[in-house]
Protein backbone atom coordinates (compact mmCIF):
# COMPACT_ATOMS: atom_id res chain seq x y z
CA UNK A 1 0.00 0.00 0.00
CA UNK A 2 1.41 3.31 -1.08
CA UNK A 3 0.47 6.90 -0.37
CA UNK A 4 0.11 9.37 -3.22
CA UNK A 5 -0.18 13.14 -3.27
CA UNK A 6 -3.51 12.98 -5.09
CA UNK A 7 -5.78 10.81 -7.20
CA UNK A 8 -4.02 12.08 -10.34
CA UNK A 9 -0.73 10.69 -9.07
CA UNK A 10 -2.36 7.28 -8.55
CA UNK A 11 -3.62 7.36 -12.13
CA UNK A 12 -0.13 8.22 -13.41
CA UNK A 13 1.51 5.45 -11.35
CA UNK A 14 -1.06 2.85 -12.45
CA UNK A 15 -0.82 3.80 -16.13
CA UNK A 16 2.98 3.70 -16.08
CA UNK A 17 2.85 0.10 -14.83
CA UNK A 18 -0.08 -1.06 -16.88
CA UNK A 19 -1.90 -1.91 -13.67
CA UNK A 20 -5.59 -1.44 -13.04
CA UNK A 21 -6.39 1.16 -10.49
CA UNK A 22 -6.96 -0.45 -7.09
CA UNK A 23 -8.78 0.76 -4.00
CA UNK A 24 -8.22 4.06 -2.27
CA UNK A 25 -8.68 5.30 1.27
CA UNK A 26 -8.53 8.78 2.68
CA UNK A 27 -5.78 9.42 5.21
CA UNK A 28 -8.37 9.48 7.95
CA UNK A 29 -9.79 6.11 6.89
CA UNK A 30 -6.28 4.64 6.72
CA UNK A 31 -5.42 5.99 10.16
CA UNK A 32 -8.62 4.66 11.71
CA UNK A 33 -8.05 1.30 10.02
CA UNK A 34 -4.46 1.20 11.28
CA UNK A 35 -5.57 2.05 14.79
CA UNK A 36 -8.29 -0.59 14.85
CA UNK A 37 -5.98 -3.22 13.33
CA UNK A 38 -2.82 -2.67 15.33
CA UNK A 39 -3.47 -0.77 18.56
CA UNK A 40 -3.75 -3.92 20.67
CA UNK A 41 -1.33 -6.26 18.89
CA UNK A 42 1.26 -6.02 21.67
CA UNK A 43 -1.13 -6.86 24.51
CA UNK A 44 -1.46 -10.45 25.72
CA UNK A 45 -5.19 -10.71 24.96
CA UNK A 46 -4.82 -9.77 21.28
CA UNK A 47 -5.91 -12.24 18.65
CA UNK A 48 -6.00 -12.00 14.90
CA UNK A 49 -9.40 -10.63 13.76
CA UNK A 50 -11.68 -13.13 12.07
CA UNK A 51 -12.89 -12.51 8.53
CA UNK A 52 -16.30 -11.56 9.94
CA UNK A 53 -14.68 -9.06 12.30
CA UNK A 54 -12.50 -7.61 9.56
CA UNK A 55 -15.52 -7.19 7.29
CA UNK A 56 -17.42 -5.46 10.08
CA UNK A 57 -14.45 -3.16 10.68
CA UNK A 58 -14.22 -2.25 6.99
CA UNK A 59 -17.95 -1.53 6.89
CA UNK A 60 -17.74 0.67 10.00
CA UNK A 61 -15.06 2.76 8.26
CA UNK A 62 -17.03 3.09 5.03
CA UNK A 63 -14.65 0.72 3.21
CA UNK A 64 -16.99 -1.14 0.90
CA UNK A 65 -17.24 -2.67 -2.55
CA UNK A 66 -15.90 -5.73 -4.39
CA UNK A 67 -12.26 -4.61 -4.14
CA UNK A 68 -12.43 -4.83 -0.35
CA UNK A 69 -14.23 -8.18 -0.15
CA UNK A 70 -12.29 -10.67 1.95
CA UNK A 71 -13.83 -13.85 0.50
Amino acid sequence: MLVFRSEAHIDRWSAARGLPRGGTLSLDQAWRLARAWYATKAVPEWRRPSVDEAEALFASLGIAGPFWALR
Binding site: M1, V3, I10, S14, T24, L27, A34, Y38, F58
Partner: protein, 147 residues
Protein backbone atom coordinates in the same frame (compact mmCIF):
# COMPACT_ATOMS: atom_id res chain seq x y z
CA UNK B 1 3.54 -24.23 29.08
CA UNK B 2 1.36 -24.85 26.03
CA UNK B 3 2.41 -23.74 22.56
CA UNK B 4 -0.40 -21.19 22.61
CA UNK B 5 0.82 -19.70 25.90
CA UNK B 6 4.42 -19.65 24.67
CA UNK B 7 3.38 -17.98 21.40
CA UNK B 8 1.46 -15.32 23.34
CA UNK B 9 4.50 -14.62 25.53
CA UNK B 10 6.85 -14.55 22.53
CA UNK B 11 4.54 -12.18 20.65
CA UNK B 12 4.27 -9.79 23.60
CA UNK B 13 8.03 -9.91 24.26
CA UNK B 14 8.74 -9.43 20.56
CA UNK B 15 6.61 -6.30 20.28
CA UNK B 16 7.90 -4.86 23.54
CA UNK B 17 11.46 -5.47 22.38
CA UNK B 18 10.81 -3.70 19.07
CA UNK B 19 9.12 -0.81 20.83
CA UNK B 20 12.10 -0.43 23.19
CA UNK B 21 14.93 -0.94 20.72
CA UNK B 22 13.35 0.23 17.44
CA UNK B 23 14.72 -2.94 15.90
CA UNK B 24 13.27 -6.38 15.20
CA UNK B 25 15.22 -8.98 17.21
CA UNK B 26 16.48 -12.26 15.86
CA UNK B 27 15.21 -15.40 17.59
CA UNK B 28 18.41 -15.93 19.57
CA UNK B 29 18.39 -12.36 20.87
CA UNK B 30 14.74 -12.54 21.89
CA UNK B 31 15.37 -15.92 23.53
CA UNK B 32 18.13 -14.25 25.53
CA UNK B 33 15.78 -11.47 26.60
CA UNK B 34 13.15 -14.00 27.63
CA UNK B 35 15.48 -16.55 29.23
CA UNK B 36 14.26 -19.27 26.86
CA UNK B 37 16.12 -21.77 24.68
CA UNK B 38 16.58 -20.29 21.17
CA UNK B 39 14.97 -23.35 19.57
CA UNK B 40 11.76 -22.69 21.51
CA UNK B 41 11.60 -19.14 20.18
CA UNK B 42 12.40 -20.27 16.63
CA UNK B 43 9.58 -22.83 16.85
CA UNK B 44 7.26 -20.13 18.13
CA UNK B 45 8.27 -17.80 15.28
CA UNK B 46 7.34 -20.59 12.85
CA UNK B 47 3.89 -20.95 14.42
CA UNK B 48 3.36 -17.18 14.50
CA UNK B 49 4.35 -17.07 10.83
CA UNK B 50 1.93 -19.88 9.96
CA UNK B 51 -0.78 -17.97 11.83
CA UNK B 52 0.01 -14.77 9.87
CA UNK B 53 0.90 -12.90 13.03
CA UNK B 54 4.35 -12.21 11.55
CA UNK B 55 6.03 -12.82 8.20
CA UNK B 56 9.21 -14.90 8.19
CA UNK B 57 12.27 -14.72 5.97
CA UNK B 58 13.58 -17.92 4.41
CA UNK B 59 15.97 -18.40 7.34
CA UNK B 60 13.08 -18.49 9.83
CA UNK B 61 13.84 -15.06 11.25
CA UNK B 62 11.25 -12.30 11.22
CA UNK B 63 10.92 -10.21 8.08
CA UNK B 64 7.81 -8.37 9.20
CA UNK B 65 6.36 -8.15 12.67
CA UNK B 66 3.50 -6.17 11.24
CA UNK B 67 3.28 -3.24 11.46
CA UNK B 68 7.07 -3.18 11.86
CA UNK B 69 9.57 -4.10 9.16
CA UNK B 70 12.84 -5.76 10.14
CA UNK B 71 14.61 -3.89 7.34
CA UNK B 72 14.59 -0.21 6.40
CA UNK B 73 11.75 0.69 4.04
CA UNK B 74 10.34 3.74 2.28
CA UNK B 75 8.02 4.23 5.27
CA UNK B 76 10.15 5.51 8.15
CA UNK B 77 8.30 6.56 11.26
CA UNK B 78 9.65 8.94 13.86
CA UNK B 79 8.13 8.50 17.32
CA UNK B 80 9.34 8.70 20.91
CA UNK B 81 12.73 9.93 19.70
CA UNK B 82 13.35 6.79 17.62
CA UNK B 83 13.01 5.71 14.00
CA UNK B 84 10.89 2.68 13.14
CA UNK B 85 10.07 1.27 9.70
CA UNK B 86 6.63 0.28 8.44
CA UNK B 87 6.01 -2.24 5.67
CA UNK B 88 3.60 0.09 3.89
CA UNK B 89 1.73 3.27 4.68
CA UNK B 90 -1.01 1.36 6.55
CA UNK B 91 1.67 -0.24 8.70
CA UNK B 92 3.53 3.04 9.16
CA UNK B 93 0.36 4.52 10.63
CA UNK B 94 -0.04 1.24 12.51
CA UNK B 95 3.28 1.83 14.26
CA UNK B 96 1.93 5.06 15.71
CA UNK B 97 -1.23 3.16 16.66
CA UNK B 98 0.57 0.31 18.42
CA UNK B 99 2.89 2.76 20.18
CA UNK B 100 -0.10 4.98 21.06
CA UNK B 101 2.21 7.84 20.24
CA UNK B 102 2.25 11.06 18.35
CA UNK B 103 4.74 10.90 15.50
CA UNK B 104 5.55 11.47 11.88
CA UNK B 105 5.56 9.18 8.84
CA UNK B 106 8.21 10.44 6.44
CA UNK B 107 6.72 8.82 3.34
CA UNK B 108 7.33 9.49 -0.33
CA UNK B 109 4.64 9.87 -2.97
CA UNK B 110 4.23 6.49 -4.67
CA UNK B 111 4.99 7.96 -8.08
CA UNK B 112 8.31 9.31 -6.82
CA UNK B 113 7.40 12.99 -7.10
CA UNK B 114 8.68 13.85 -3.64
CA UNK B 115 8.20 13.50 0.11
CA UNK B 116 4.82 13.21 1.76
CA UNK B 117 4.84 13.79 5.49
CA UNK B 118 1.96 12.47 7.55
CA UNK B 119 1.67 13.53 11.15
CA UNK B 120 -0.34 11.97 13.94
CA UNK B 121 -0.99 14.25 16.86
CA UNK B 122 -3.57 13.94 19.59
CA UNK B 123 -5.12 10.91 17.95
CA UNK B 124 -5.71 12.62 14.61
CA UNK B 125 -3.82 12.30 11.33
CA UNK B 126 -2.75 15.38 9.39
CA UNK B 127 -1.20 15.77 5.99
CA UNK B 128 -2.04 15.45 2.33
CA UNK B 129 -2.37 12.26 0.41
CA UNK B 130 -4.51 9.33 -0.69
CA UNK B 131 -3.73 5.73 0.25
CA UNK B 132 -3.82 3.28 -2.63
CA UNK B 133 -4.08 -0.51 -2.42
CA UNK B 134 -3.04 -2.18 -5.68
CA UNK B 135 -4.03 -5.69 -4.57
CA UNK B 136 -7.66 -6.63 -3.84
CA UNK B 137 -8.24 -7.38 -0.16
CA UNK B 138 -8.91 -11.09 -0.60
CA UNK B 139 -5.48 -11.51 -2.23
CA UNK B 140 -3.38 -9.56 0.27
CA UNK B 141 -1.81 -12.66 1.79
CA UNK B 142 -1.06 -14.40 -1.53
CA UNK B 143 2.08 -12.25 -1.73
CA UNK B 144 2.23 -10.18 1.42
CA UNK B 145 5.64 -8.75 0.60
CA UNK B 146 4.33 -7.28 -2.68
CA UNK B 147 1.08 -6.20 -1.02
Amino acid sequence: MSDADLDRDVRVALYRSIERRADVPRAAALAGEMGLPPEDVRASFARLGAGRVVVLASDGEILMANPYSAAPTAFPVRARGKWYFGNCVWDALGILAILASDGVVEATCGDGCGPLTLEVRGGEVRGEGVVHFAVPARDWWKDIVFT
